[in-house]
């Protein structure tokens, strides 16, 4: 599967990474190379094999549905690039 420039542009957007238009051909080439390497997986007969969901045969642990933590807005916000009045601040989302 070879990645063309339009696909590279779409993948970059889905990944929310800005890629300059002039860098798209090189990116498409690199992604194609990596995907070509993955094509080897098509040689394997996987009929009847369940995709692995957990590497150790275990059920995910459960705990009581209770509040165990919280009440520390200053700590939660302490690393935010922009925080105001107890909230994370972002550019306007709705017009």
């Amino acid at each position: 599967m070879s990645i063309d420039i339009d696909t590279a542009r779409r993948v970059a957007h889905l990944a929310r990474i800005a890629v300059k238009e002039q860098d798209l051909p090189a990116l498409a080439g690199e992604l194609s190379g990596i995907l070509a390497f993955m094509e080897q997986l098509n040689e394997v007969d996987v009929t009847g094999i369940e995709p692995m969901t957990s590497v150790t045969p275990m059920r995910l642990k459960r705990r009581a549905d209770v509040v165990t933590d919280g009440g520390m807005p200053e700590k939660v916000l302490s690393n935010a690039p922009d925080a105001r009045e107890g909230f994370f601040a972002v550019p306007k989302v709705m017009e």
Binding site: L14, A15, I17, E30, F37, M38, E39, P51, P81, V93
Partner: protein, 495 residues
């Protein structure tokens, strides 16, 4: 006379308990060694005040007779571990300035046992790399050189700073993490010991996530005994990590009996790669002879899906990474790009992530995004997960047939030169993981042990792979190999 910073954990523990030295003296010796080792670029955040405070507290505990094995031992901590109030940025610009309000479970357990943190260690950005060259701090440098050649070599990756620091005696041991070989490959490149425990043995809570179904933390140490001691302090149940096992942690050091008589060692034929250097081939057969001399039975085994491990890994790991790294959006922590007139939230995300992530991280996030996208999910991601199940089954069949441990080379070569892979395509760099990545896919414990030098004087290591949850038995095999190989070489100091 061994300088204090050159001690092993076991040696320092015994000296501390006998009152022959103090944690403060050990810590000062390490801090002085770090001071003089700027050229290695191993420590990227220095915490001497914290270290001396912890050392004084450890000395008080020792004096009071309340001293676990790790009490007073100066360590380096990989930058991937969140350490409260101390920069923890996974060697990425996107986490620049991030100071966690909390402590990772691993560091919290180590500090609870009295260990001392000297500072944070260099690594590949988000642990994605095999040479430490994707770090936002610039690469760490291997203390080893090729004979008289002054060319700078990679310490390996992603735990390259940890490996360089331990090999150069800047600390007694260090924490590492391993997603595809990131503890074992750098350990092999620097002549030290590194163990990746069974998936779920060590809590991942507070460790910056790369690929959650593969990531495990482990110790990087000067000896197998030290690995046993430190792993015991890092491991154990944790309510904050739902994949962390509730199994009790055995006394790993007590498992080091040196007796492996009657054990069956598997030699997987698929690990004999085309074009394998003769030196690696010899190292491997020498290692197998050592285990045989110690009374083990050597058995040829087949792990037929080995060749598909790397491509499966390079689907699964980027897929999980693309999901994990979605949290770096410029809102809650770290870097946010300067926005232009009229930029909305999408531009904020896109510019922030373009500025904050390095090239290799961007590449993997995009590969992961692609293999998870509509229309390709089955063809790539689900197929890779099926192949992963087959790779795990290969190991299960070998263990069911009575194999106790599997011996393989740790890496396909000795440490290579920094910059040497700069023009190679990304896949060439991925081949570094060829012997280690199967172990992560199968969730097994694996350990790298230094067993020889190549023709140019660089260390080479072998890998032992164990049964799940049998780290004690695995460490015992490694202990036998370590003693038989008698690897004592240290890099000549040039830094």
């Amino acid at each position: 006379m061994t300088a204090l910073n050159q001690l092993t954990i076991a040696g320092a523990r015994d000296a501390l308990r006998k009152g022959e030295t103090t944690s403060l003296a050990l810590t000062d010796a390490c801090l002085a060694a770090i001071e003089g080792a700027g050229a290695l670029n191993a420590f990227v955040h220095h915490t001497p005040e914290i270290a001396r405070d912890q050392a004084r507290a450890a000395d008080a505990r020792l004096a009071a007779g309340d001293a676990p094995a790790m009490c007073g031992i100066p360590l380096g901590i990989k930058d991937l571990f969140c350490t409260k109030g101390v920069p923890s940025q996974a060697a990425s610009n996107i986490l620049k300035g991030f100071r966690p309000e909390y402590e990772s479970t691993v560091t919290s357990q180590l500090f609870g046992a009295g260990a001392v943190m000297l500072g944070k260690l260099n690594m590949d950005e988000f642990a994605m790399g095999s040479s430490n060259e994707s770090s936002c701090y610039g690469n760490a440098v291997n203390p080893w050189r090729r004979g008289n050649d002054t060319a700078a070599l990679t310490p390996g990756g992603s735990s390259g700073g940890s490996a360089a620091a331990v090999a150069a005696d800047l600390c007694l041991a260090a924490t590492g993490t391993d997603t595809g070989g990131s503890i074992r490959q750098p350990a092999a490149f620097t002549g030290i010991v590194g163990i990746k425990p069974t998936y779920g043995r060590v809590s991942r809570w507070g460790i910056v996530a790369f690929a959650s179904s593969l990531d495990q933390a482990g110790p990087m140490t000067k000896t197998v005994r030290d690995a046993a001691i430190m792993l015991g302090a890092m491991a154990g149940p944790d309510a904050k990590d739902s994949t962390c096992s509730d199994l009790p942690v055995p006394d790993f050091e007590a498992a080091l009996t040196g007796d492996i008589r009657g054990k069956k060692i598997g030699i997987p034929r698929e690990y004999r790669m085309d074009g394998m250097p003769a030196e690696i081939e010899k190292l491997w057969s020498d290692g197998s002879a050592m285990l045989k001399d110690a009374g083990a039975e050597i058995v040829d085994i087949s792990l037929p899906h080995t060749k598909y491990a790397l491509p499966a890994y390079y689907v699964v790991a980027p897929a999980e990474a693309s999901s994990n790294l979605a949290r770096y959006d410029g809102v809650r922590y770290g870097h946010r790009a300067k926005l232009g007139q009229g930029d909305g939230i999408t531009e904020m995300y896109e510019k922030t992530r373009a500025e904050g992530f390095g090239k290799e991280v961007q590449r993997r996030v995009m590969v992961g995004t692609y293999v998870l996208s509509a229309g390709f999910y089955d063809a790539y991601y689900n197929r890779a997960r099926k192949v992963r199940a087959l790779i795990k089954r290969d190991f299960e069949l070998a263990f069911e047939a009575g194999i106790d441990a599997i011996l393989t080379p740790a890496t396909p070569s000795a440490a290579f030169g920094l910059g040497e892979m700069a023009d190679a395509d990304p896949v060439a760099m991925y081949l570094n993981d060829v012997f280690t990545v199967t172990v992560n896919l199968a969730g097994l414990p694996g350990i790298a042990v230094p067993t020889g030098l190549d023709g140019r004087g660089l260390p080479l290591g072998l890998q032992l792979i164990g049964r799940p949850w049998e780290e004690g038995d695995l460490l015992n095999h490694a202990y036998v190999l370590e003693r038989a190989a008698g690897f004592v070489s240290k890099p000549a100091k040039w830094w």
